[in-house]
């Protein structure tokens, strides 16, 4: 249960929010002009990285507003929240943040809870 800072209401418990998947996937302006493959990519394909992820959240049991967040899926730390109409923060902003908990490698999983 993590804390999430709604850009409109402030810090609230995770249970008040719903996750909306990858952010910055823009609905094509002219769907008819897209090839089947390109349209299929828009509808069905999303990224799922271990590490820094730009994603959407909605404050379902609150102001009902959608917003974007930058979360490290490995540490579950929310590094930044910003409104839908705000600029996507640059990846370099998060260079110095923790890569993973307990010294886990940034790719793959496994039991690395012991310091050698």
């Amino acid at each position: 249960m993590i804390l999430i800072k709604c850009p409109y209401c402030g810090e609230r418990d995770q249970s008040e929010f719903a996750n909306g998947g990858e952010a910055h996937v823009i609905r094509p302006k002219n769907p008819e002009s897209l090839s089947d493959k390109d349209w299929g990519e828009y509808v069905f394909y999303r990224n799922n990285p271990k590490g820094i992820f730009y994603e959407r959240w909605v404050h379902t049991h609150g102001c009902k507003k959608w917003f974007n967040a930058v979360r490290n899926t490995s540490t579950d730390q929310i590094l930044k929240v910003y409104k839908v109409n705000e600029k996507r923060p640059d990846l370099s902003e998060f260079q110095n943040t923790l890569k993973s908990p307990s010294g886990e490698p940034s790719v793959g999983s496994g039991n690395f809870a012991v310091k050698k």
Binding site: I26, W39, V43, D76, N111, A113, V114
Partner: protein, 993 residues
């Protein structure tokens, strides 16, 4: 051979009576079940999980693997740890996992058969034949292996409580209290959580500490507790166990509100504390571990520190002449305490070399003439359901001693469960032979023995240094000890057995009955990764999570693999720290509070008129109305359906979702959200419309009323309303923020009645004499607003039954009056109320679909032949592009058709398959060609035969073809003809006249 009583300030003189397996025993207020049983010389308290071996009380706390009991007087609460549950007068307890009795347990045959129950036994044995697992093996295993029985007829009143604090201190022992002392009267909001009902921890469990700052330990605890209690910024929670340490310093703790008291069923017996904190201080100490030797599970084997705790904390000396077996320096205090009480241990067995053993130990043993074995170990012990003889190995010689108790100490593990739950990193410490916290992941501080610091003298500096991040004064602790400050230990995990018989067992996990031999076997079979090995052998997977044994198993495994323990690593400790009741997790969210029930304004009338209800989302909807006591559902639905097509019926449609869409760009928005084209639609008309997902599949349907280009009202399915509103909101906020549109849920602002049937117009004219209901003035799919008495109503001409129909919208306050008015007017036209089942039957006769019945998330409007609903000239709408994807425009997609049985007496069942075979083969060897499924099946009283709607591959081109439908319990299939799905009034004459 018997326990003696010792004065103890934590136990009152007040006697209470408890029953254990039907027998009554005397205990004292303040006792736990375990201390009460030991006081009465009860050693055998349960049977083990797999082999049904006799088991006793092994520990004196939360780490207990064996002494699990069922509390009959508390709604049958199972798997209660006897070592922490406190007694009260009249408490009724039974042992678990035995039949017919604890002493003579039939399941103990598993122990004799044990050579075949080795690691991975279940995986290897119960493989086949097919069906045996479900019908034979699983029920058998569930009956013979297991724990207590579930509680019965119990409605918990447990509650949840939320906290936001600056600091949480877990554990109010010496370190926890000293840390809390630093925060007295500071600006920090502090929560001090103690699992026991008394503060003090190690100070009240042993006499290792002589004085603190010149005070006796008890004086120091009282003084400190009073200071903390009077400090407004610190809250103490006793009888509270922290079970979970989540991300962003979120803790969950369980408080037992009735510890040592009989539960009052009208009050909350458990409180689940949900705590959000800025900093967490873990000071919940250490857990003693055991040593594996032959029959190390016999009742009478107990951890040395637990034995010591029973003396100090509960005033019980379980045995006057125990044998003490240790590999470290911690048992000196136990030895001293026993001597001071006039008891004389039978023997003192120390695995360490004589030179490394404390001189004080050697002096006492010599002075009191106690048998002393150094550089020696316990080979094993024997006895019938209890320890009787103990075999000691010293070098090559064996000595047999008679004693009924064996106190074991294999060293101490810092209690790192919560620290690892918080994702902190641990590290192997060679001095204490255990893992200790290293790098925290969150704002977590560990203190005292939790951090691996076993030195009382260093505690003060540790606290001042680690808590220097807080703006507090330094704390001073001047500690004088009864024992040496230095901790010394010699590595020992398992002692050597004399013989290698299959029946001789040395256990590594007492809870799940895992032996050291199982570990060896699993490694031989290739399970050399600790996480795999754990799952294969079920080692440390019991409800105790191997608190006294998991490090031992890692050490034994690392030796077998010839690796360092730090290379083998630990398994993951997962929340909860100790089992917690589901009742506590559920809190007040049970029964009707779990999910709210929504009722319409007509609900009371439905009840009076014998409605049987159906749950639709959260709504209670009338399913059908019973005309008489004995009328079955089938009879009622057939009656309602026939009556409606002959006369008229009325349905409470108030549950239908209603969303108001308003704003400058409402028209553009609606054109994007729905498949239909709304631009040319005239104001005050309505239209059946569909909403798709971006993948082109149908999500919801409903009637859209257009009041103007800037104002629409959309109805949705009863259960789909919240999702439709949320989807609309999402698109408005994220994709089309430039559109000026406002959405409002108005579902509960209106009571809605659907009245339909050939006599409807006459009834409506009676109810609303001033309104012109003629076809010209009020055509199909139009609506109008009227004044009605002191309110306003909206009437729309629409129908879901295929008959002439109207929908009336009225504020719920006036709903019931109007409903009753309609009935009094409709009486002479034989107006009936009908429920959702009749609605479904009637719409199936008309070939109308139901979302979630004909559709399942893989159906497009084209599949339903609803091409007319698609606004092809619109540039865009949600899902439009997907309708021309190659897969979505395949000719052989499942498409909607009607089914009519060739033999009119046959019944078409919902969910059956459509095949080409008239009979199924007796033995099915090759897959049978499957054409589709029956999505709706009803007996139509108006056609007098069974009808079906079906989704069939390429169905559009199969009209008039014959196929077969499978039937429940029969190999002979039903011959059917593919027909137009509209069975009644295909020309829509009834709707539009």
């Amino acid at each position: 051979m018997s326990a003696i009583y010792n004065n103890c300030e934590y136990i009152s003189k007040k006697q209470v009576k408890i029953t254990f397996d039907g027998k009554t025993y005397q205990a004292y207020e303040g006792d736990t079940i375990a201390s009460a049983l030991l006081r009465n010389n009860i050693r055998l308290v349960g049977r083990s999980f797999k082999y049904h071996r006799p088991r006793g009380i092994y520990t004196c706390g939360i780490e207990e693997p064996n002494a699990l009991v069922q509390i009959i007087s508390e709604h049958n609460e199972p798997n209660t740890r006897a070592t922490i549950k406190r007694v009260y007068d009249g408490m009724e307890i039974t042992s678990q996992n035995r039949w017919p009795s604890l002493r003579y347990d039939f399941g103990a045959i598993n122990n004799i058969l044990s050579p075949i129950f080795s690691a991975g036994f279940y995986y290897k044995t119960f493989m086949g034949p097919k069906g045996f697992w479900k019908n034979l093996y699983e029920p058998l295993i569930r009956r013979s292996a297991g724990l207590g029985k579930p509680p019965k007829n119990f409605r918990s009143k447990s509650t949840h409580q939320y906290h936001n604090t600056d600091v949480v201190i877990i554990g109010a022992g010496l370190s926890g209290l000293a840390a809390a002392k630093k925060f007295i009267n500071t600006k920090y909001k502090v929560l001090l959580i103690e699992q026991d009902s008394y503060l003090g921890g190690v100070l009240k469990n042993s006499n290792k500490v002589k004085t603190i700052n010149g005070l006796t330990p008890q004086e120091w605890i009282s003084e400190t507790e009073e200071l903390i209690f009077n400090s407004k910024n610190i809250t103490i929670l006793k009888n509270t166990l922290v079970t979970t340490y989540n991300f962003t310093n979120h803790l969950i703790a369980l408080e037992d509100k009735f510890s040592g008291k009989k539960i009052d069923l009208n009050k909350s017996e458990l409180t689940l504390h949900k705590i959000r904190t800025s900093n967490t201080i873990i000071a919940n100490g250490h857990i003693e571990r055991f040593i594996s030797f032959r029959n190390n599970d016999l009742p009478g084997v107990m951890l040395a520190s637990s034995f010591e705790k029973y003396i100090h904390r509960y005033g019980v000396v379980p045995e006057k002449e125990p044998v003490i077996f240790t590999n470290n320096s911690s048992t000196l205090s136990l030895l001293k305490k026993l001597i001071s009480l006039g008891c004389k241990p039978k023997a003192y067995v120390d695995y360490r070399k004589k030179d490394n053993i404390e001189t004080e130990v050697k002096k006492i043993l010599k002075d009191k003439e106690i048998t002393f074995f150094s550089d020696a170990e316990i080979e094993g012990c024997d006895g019938n359901k209890k320890v009787e003889t103990i075999t000691i190995r010293q070098g090559k010689s064996f000595n047999k001693l008679k004693s009924s108790m064996l106190c074991v100490s294999g060293g101490y593990n810092p209690d790192i469960h919560l620290f690892t739950q918080s994702k902190g990193l641990v590290k192997w410490d060679k001095n204490i032979l255990s893992f200790k916290p290293d790098t925290p992941f969150q704002k977590t501080i560990t203190l005292g023995s939790t951090s691996g610091n076993y030195s009382f003298k260093k505690l003060c500096d540790e606290i001042n240094e680690k808590l220097s991040i807080f703006k507090t004064k330094k704390v001073s602790l001047d500690i004088n000890l009864n024992v040496p400050n230095k901790f010394s230990i010699k590595e020992l995990w398992e002692t050597k057995k004399k013989s290698n018989s299959n029946w001789s067992k040395s256990f590594i996990d007492l809870h799940n009955d895992v032996t050291t031999k199982d570990l060896k076997q699993a490694i031989t079979e290739g399970f050399d990764r600790i996480e795999h090995l754990k799952r294969y052998t079920t080692n440390s997977m019991g409800t105790d999570q191997g608190k006294i044994s998991s490090i031992n198993s890692l050490a034994i495994v690392s030796k077998m693999l010839k690796k360092e323990i730090s290379e083998v690593g630990t398994t993951t400790y997962r929340p909860p720290y100790a089992p917690l009741s589901f009742a506590a997790i559920a809190g007040r969210s049970t029964y009707e509070f779990y999910d709210p029930e929504r009722k319409t304004s007509i609900h009371s009338w439905h009840l009076k008129n014998n409605a049987v209800f159906e749950d639709v989302g959260q709504w209670k909807r009338p399913w059908y109305f019973k005309a008489s006591e004995n009328e079955t559902m089938h009879q009622a639905v057939q009656r309602e359906s026939k009556m409606l097509r002959e006369n008229a019926g009325i349905l409470d449609g108030s549950t239908l979702g209603k969303i108001e869409i308003k704003g400058r760009d409402a028209l553009e928005f609606m054109n994007l959200m729905y498949t239909n084209a709304f631009s040319k639609m005239k104001p005050m008309t309505s239209r059946y419309a569909m909403m798709l997902g971006e993948d082109g599949m149908i999500k919801d349907d409903g009637i859209i009323c257009k009041i103007s280009d800037q104002h629409f009202i959309a109805t949705t399915t009863s259960s789909g309303a919240p999702k439709v509103l949320a989807d609309m909101e999402e698109y408005l906020q994220t994709e089309w923020p430039h559109l000026q549109v406002y959405l409002n849920s108005i579902t509960e602002q209106f009571s809605t009645f659907n009245i339909s049937g050939p006599k409807t117009r006459e009834i409506m004219m009676r109810v609303f004499p001033d309104i012109d209901f003629s076809n010209d003035a009020f055509p199909f799919m139009t609506f109008k607003n009227f004044d009605y008495k002191e309110t306003k109503i909206r009437i729309m001409r629409a129908s879901f039954t295929g008959e002439l129909g109207y929908e009336i919208y009225i504020p719920p306050k006036f709903g019931l009056d109007l409903w009753e008015e309609i009935f009094s007017c409709g009486k002479e036209f034989n107006l009936i109320p009908y429920g959702t089942e009749t609605m479904h039957l009637l719409r199936a006769e008309k070939g109308y679909i139901v979302i979630g019945q004909e559709t399942d998330g893989t159906v497009t409007p084209i599949d339903l032949n609803y091409n007319w609903m698609i606004g092809k000239n619109k540039k865009d709408f949600i899902g439009k592009r997907s309708l021309s994807r190659p897969d979505t425009s395949r000719e052989d997609r499942k498409q909607l058709v009607g089914l009519s049985p060739i033999n009119k007496k046959d019944t078409i069942e919902e969910g059956q398959h459509i095949v080409e075979l008239n009979e199924l083969p007796k033995k099915i060897t090759n897959p049978i060609k499957y054409l589709g499924h029956v999505s709706s099946g009803y007996h139509s009283p108006n056609l007098n035969h069974s009808i079906g709607l079906a989704m069939i591959r390429g169905g559009k081109n199969l009209l008039g073809k014959k196929f077969f439908v499978t039937a429940t319990g029969k190999t002979r299939n039903i011959p059917v003809e593919i027909v137009n799905p509209v069975f009644i009034d295909p020309e829509n004459k009834r709707l539009t006249s």
